[in-house]
Symmetry: C2
Amino acid sequence: MSTTSPDLVHATRGGIVESLHRGSVAIVDASGAVRLALGDIDRPVFPRSACKVLQALPLVASGAAEALQLTDAELSLACASHGGEPGHVATAAGMLAKASLDASALECGTHWPRLEATQRAMARAGEEPGPLHNNCSGKHSGFVCVGCLMARAQGRDAREFVHGYVRPDHPVMREVTAALQAATGVDLSRAPVGTDGCSIPAFALPLRGLALGFARVATGQGLSPEHARAARRLREAVARSPFHVAGTGRFDTRVMERLGERVFCKVGAEGVYCAALPGQGLGVAIKIDDGNTARAAEVVMAAVIESLVSLGDAERGFMRRFSEVPLLNCNGTRIGALQASAGLREALPVS
Amino acid sequence: MSTTSPDLVHATRGGIVESLHRGSVAIVDASGAVRLALGDIDRPVFPRSACKVLQALPLVASGAAEALQLTDAELSLACASHGGEPGHVATAAGMLAKASLDASALECGTHWPRLEATQRAMARAGEEPGPLHNNCSGKHSGFVCVGCLMARAQGRDAREFVHGYVRPDHPVMREVTAALQAATGVDLSRAPVGTDGCSIPAFALPLRGLALGFARVATGQGLSPEHARAARRLREAVARSPFHVAGTGRFDTRVMERLGERVFCKVGAEGVYCAALPGQGLGVAIKIDDGNTARAAEVVMAAVIESLVSLGDAERGFMRRFSEVPLLNCNGTRIGALQASAGLREALPVS
């Protein structure tokens, strides 16, 4: 897979590189022109949660968001890998209530919130997680809202209609897959397909196609008018409600709180990160070979944003804290750093 | 660092490799003869917690273990990266009590137990972590025991004497560093040095030297008589009390519960794993380039044990569950697997 993947992130200790992360980066404009290719950008990669905004296009394009009067927070949550914090859980429950349904309609499964502090707070309060705590519950609530509108249009019972919505052949999932295909330009009928963590189909796409999809989200170019409007509405909603797309202390939340609509970035599992940069008209897609998102893909995305987006000095310093991260030990002693590799820095900025 | 590192572990989804882990493996006998070299085994690597048994040699060799009547559980904990479970915490406290000291003597710092279920159980009980919960508290309690004996021999106050034991120039740490150097044959005065997670010095050694150290632990050859006796006693203690070297559900505990003294294996942070195989007279040292221990170094170690150690069919099936690990999603659906790469399987067994 990765004989050509350059090292993108170094973890240092005692003045040497202790560990490193290799990976690939595609930066593409809305015409499909490649502005930067590091590593193999044509190898199929599972985008995982990084493509949630593409999967949420039908929620707006279908008219469901309007019919159900979904708020910015709710649309942001539909694009989210959220932390299962009380504000996320309540917002997902609210989306389902607007569709006259509840958490029992969700087919994403249950996991404890990723953030250990949130887990401990729940344990202290004697709580157990349910499907609303699943980091994908907003995306799934969005799917259920799409299904609710389809059911209404056909005069059918919504609960019955949405059952099985995670299956590839369900009308809701067919819409979602069609949106992913239209945005990325990749023929998904020929793509490797697996099952995602939340049980929906997972298609593997080249980074080139993913980056193109995000360039289209950034610009609207190459999308249908309905999808272009939906992409604009979703970017705007996330910029207005960045807490709901991730959560306390999380990269996507912090960066979009600070930079607003200048960046739409979205994390995925297994070292994937995507971004739409409207000011530059560019899409970005990153895959770390070893699947490490938190300490590798984030650092690469930070370096990309630093390099490509127009930033003031304070904003640049803010981003640098994500691309040069001090590592502290249990006594708070600085023992090293995570940092974008010199090779990555040299490859950026793209012209 | 790793242009030559082969891929050792694959994470699959939908029939393709989603992520992979590259790394290096050294298998060496007690004469220093290399039986297997994958990747660069001469590049310095921080062994982290994988070398705790070498750092515990002075605890036995000095006579401290005998003088303080340390049990198998306590000696096992001195070699441990434990889970901070109640049995670990109580055992560390007991070691310190035998030295007439308490948790306030520990300089390892505090972190929540790694296992999320243990964290939640503590949170439910209204508990907060202290230094005894640190995964290194047994190693540090062992250092304190060594210091206690040194203080007694000099007629000095133990608490005062052990203060600052994590510093490179403290008499206790000088003994520990000397043991690491003697076992591995690496001149640590010329090695890269950083600070470990628990604040003691961290030296970077070639995998070749680390594997040699473990071949010596396996056989006693090449060690001083005191260190050879200490190595045997520590291996025996861990085999008799494998819970204390790691904890519930952990690789080292489960494997040594099953295979007893045939394997001494020890995990380290940042993708390092070491083992002593007494029956084969071999030492093993593994480093995953990207630093992933739990899902990469463990899989490699499992494949090495499967290949090198004399196992019955049931034992082989048991080990295979660590080298071919099904990956399940939130709904319990199998979505892929972690597995030793074909290249690694082909390189093993060594003759």
